[in-house]
Amino acid sequence: MPIIETRALRKTFRSVVRGEGLGGAIGALFSREYEEKVAVEDVSMSVEQGEVVGYIGPNGAGKSTTIKMLTGILVPTSGSIEVAGIVPHEKRRQNARNIGVVFGQRSQLYWDLPLRESFELLRAIYRVPRDRYNENLAHFVEILDLDRFMATPVRQLSLGERMRGDFAAALLHDPKIVYLDEPTIGLDVVAKEAIRTFIADINKRLGTTVILTTHDLADVERLCKRIVLIDEGTVIYDGKLERLRDEYGIHRTLVVHFKDPQPDFTLAGVEIEHREPPIVWLRFDRRATTAEALIRRVTERYAITDVAIVEPEMEDIVRRLYREGYAKPPAHVPEA
């Protein structure tokens, strides 16, 4: 049985139409003209216990709105939603006990209090038994290296320290599901890696289900076997990360260094992606030709000094998808 299930989830917001400038602002106080804005058009997905799902999409695609509906703080306009057997917005507080949430841009720690006291407060809020609390905290302190700043007020922590604190805070009550909304935003490489290791660890050790929204595809590549891609409120791809790479990452780039500048170089059937004489980037479909054949065709006519093959970056694949849409088979639920 899936732990998260949404069907035809839809959310529209009503906002007041207002004219420009001061006149418009004042006008809006009196006239009430509304427009409907669709934030989430149609999201159906089901997630099994223990999965780590990358929920990705461009800004304004509806990711945060979906997460808010999953946490129960937004009521869907239509469609159904169930998280661990509960309809979140109907039983917000009961649902809250099952979930942990981390927002990269917003802390749940208490600003003026030392980190340790925020944890103590969360223990009371979630009614975590004392020994379980001590055990979890000891573990988090160790793997997130919190010891140095447990007594520091949160407002004095660096972003990296605060995020580590926020992760511990979200997981103290052993939630079944954690929603991570851009958890690595603004962090340096070392801190990002620490966070990724932590997520992988809790997923492996406790079987925690993780929904991760991020713009950093390195997070996704490192953590998620499955991704759900959303654009304009609709799921455009749902499946294995590798499959996306296989199906969509069909292009490779061959980088050729010529001995002499070749400003007019062209090759039949091959797209010139970029040119910076004496270097040319050739984009080719790996199903139509091979790198070997291509190199042969080039060297038959020109003297070259070096070649390199560039594999498609996940980021490029996703960027193309946003731009061109997923024209392949319709989004489908992955094999369980």
Binding site: K11, F13, A39, T65, I73, L74, V101, Q108, E117, I125
Partner: protein, 265 residues
């Protein structure tokens, strides 16, 4: 039951701890109280030197009234639910809705913790005030009635502030309204001048407003202007205002929370 209350007790304790971190504010609040007590004494002494005691309120009574009003203000002037306004302003209210707690009860607990911390400051402030002015000590019965009435006044203030802070669900910004409310409660609530000194016609109207339930009623009980046989009437009015404001606060809170939940803030 006790387990269910624990988070809220913790919220209150943490709020006290938080207030205590702003040590400078603690000293300035005690210091400014002493200055205000001194200034009010100067003003009343000067006024009484040239005029007969209005409505039979003697100089010692008016000085007691002013000093006790200032001490009460250390609690009643606190906006216990300013946290709500801050959270609406920066959007962090969303995080609280994701926790298994009642958000209004959380705000109440936090405000109470804040108030309790400031209540503890009344003792040193009173000691300091006593160096400057003489404060009349009423009988045990009168003092008991004063404490009960003060307690009711606290709830009138709580629901007024809560309602006001809920306005931020729609406007995000409420400082202007808030400033106005402070002035209105001080003036129309009898925090500065006893309402007895207002012209009779206006007085009737003002006494019926909720603001009088905050400062005026407990203070007039303290200086004996409200007699024991009138206690029921005045405290009844305080209770009535608590009930009315609690209903208003609940309605506006629900509408505001609905706005966050359905409209996404």
């Amino acid at each position: 039951m006790l387990v269910a209350l624990e988070p809220y007790v913790q919220f209150a304790l943490k709020a006290m701890a938080r207030e205590a971190t702003y040590r400078f504010e603690v000293f300035t609040s005690i210091g400014s109280l002493a200055v205000r007590v001194y200034l009010l004494r100067v003003v009343w002494v000067a006024l009484y030197a040239r005029n007969a005691a209005p409505h039979g309120v003697e100089l010692h009574a008016i000085i007691t009234y002013s000093a006790v009003a200032l001490l009460m203000g250390m609690i009643l002037d606190i906006d216990q639910t300013s946290l709500l306004h801050d959270k609406l302003h920066d959007g962090s209210i969303v995080v609280d809705f994701m926790k298994p707690i009642s958000v209004p009860f959380y705000l109440f607990a936090d405000g109470t913790g804040e108030v309790l911390f400031h209540a503890a400051l009344i003792v040193p402030s009173l000691a300091l005030a006593l160096l400057i002015v003489h404060i009349d000590v009423p009988s045990v019965t009168v003092f008991g009635a004063f404490i009960v009435s003060f307690f009711l006044a606290y709830f009138v203030g709580f629901f007024l502030n809560f309602t006001l802070n809920c306005i931020a669900f729609w406007t995000l910004e409420i400082s202007a309204v808030q400033l106005m409310l402070t002035w209105v409660t001080d003036l129309l609530g009898g925090g500065i001048v006893p309402l007895l000194f207002f012209p009779a016609g206006i007085q009737q109207a003002i006494v019926a407003l909720p603001f009088a339930s905050m400062f005026s009623t407990p203070l007039l009980i303290y200086i004996g202007e409200i007699k024991p046989e009138q206690y029921a009437q005045y405290m009844g009015l305080q209770l009535l205002w608590i009930a009315v404001l609690a209903v208003v606060a609940t309605v506006i809170w629900r509408a505001g929370a609905r706005r966050v939940i359905v409209q996404g803030g």
